[in-house]
């Protein structure tokens, strides 16, 4: 297998370690703003989506910038 592709796949695999962190950070952050569990859940979901969206945007910017290098 192409070693560059293998490294790219490993890079994607490492992103999996971000998922528990995103979940936990979202839940704890939301819990510091609400008392009601349903409100915490809603806020945490929105927060997680916001973090993932930001990561995607930053990743796309990095991909575009790296294409120019």
């Amino acid at each position: 297998m192409n070693p560059v592709l293998l490294l790219a796949q490993l890079g994607w695999m490492y992103l999996g370690y971000a998922i528990p962190l995103i979940v936990v950070i979202s839940l704890v952050y939301a819990a510091t703003r609400h008392e009601d569990l349903r409100a915490i859940g809603r806020h945490a979901f929105g927060c997680a989506m916001w973090i993932i969206g930001l990561m995607v945007v930053v990743g796309l910017i990095m991909a575009v910038v790296s294409a120019w290098l």
Binding site: L21, V28, A31, T32, R33, E35, A39
Partner: protein, 226 residues
């Protein structure tokens, strides 16, 4: 406790002794909330924060070098582990690192020439690595730990640091109650020491926590119940 303020049905949160709750929250994540009777949030903080920390400890060690090698206390000029300042936020769970550091430090101070150096406790659990300049033992150095744990050393460090930092948020929540928008804060100003109030979602009117922090506008990710 229940009260009314400007048309909002208010349910108050009794923070009891906020300083004690904050201290308990530092000792064990979520314990301060359990002390205040905020059981669901206490369990949430306990599971999320302690789970993250334990997973980081698991990632940052193995049976060969010992477990929890990413959590250690060292402020020697050759190895200033400033990460521990964040990890210590998780409280008792990080304290074995302090005991290990003092145990080994006392051993170095009391060591006579030619005497065998003191070994870490508990199978090197949260023990600091050997300094590169220290040739008196065969414990692994920081470089050795990186070589043997690969990227898991960084991942374990990251997880444990984030757990400690998240617990600071939880401690603040135990100390002061949930963060609110400015308008709601003005409405719900505590009338007595250690007691804050929260709007009940069942009130029919918009609860303060459904608004964006500091803006007074409804937040898209937290729809207002009607």
């Amino acid at each position: 406790m229940v009260g009314q303020t400007q048309g909002h049905s208010q349910e108050t949160i009794d923070l009891k002794d906020p300083a004690l709750a904050a201290f308990l929250g530092w000792l064990v994540p979520g314990l301060g909330h359990l002390y205040q009777g905020r059981t669901a949030k206490g369990i949430l903080f306990l599971v999320c924060i302690l789970g993250t920390f334990v997973y980081g400890v698991y990632l940052g060690g193995n049976s060969e070098v010992g477990w929890g090698r990413v959590v250690y206390m060292s402020f020697h000029p050759e190895d200033q582990r400033l990460h521990f300042l964040c990890q210590a936020g998780v409280g008792l769970a990080a304290m074995p690192a302090v005991i290990q550091a003092f145990w080994l430090r006392r051993g170095e101070q009391a060591q006579n020439p030619g005497q065998k150096p003191r070994e870490p406790l508990w199978g090197s659990f949260m023990a600091p690595p050997r300094l590169p300049s220290d040739r008196s033992s065969n414990r692994p150095t920081l470089d050795d730990l990186h070589k043997k744990l690969h990227h898991y050393f960084e991942l374990g460090t990251l997880y444990t640091m984030i757990a400690g930092l998240l617990n600071i948020l939880a401690i603040y929540d135990a100390w002061a109650g949930p963060v609110r928008e400015e308008e709601a804060e003005a409405e719900n100003r505590p009338s007595e020491e250690g007691v804050v109030s929260k709007a009940s979602p069942e009130a029919g009117s918009e609860p303060p926590e459904s608004r964006a922090f500091g803006s007074g506008e409804p937040r898209g990710i937290d729809p207002t119940p009607s």
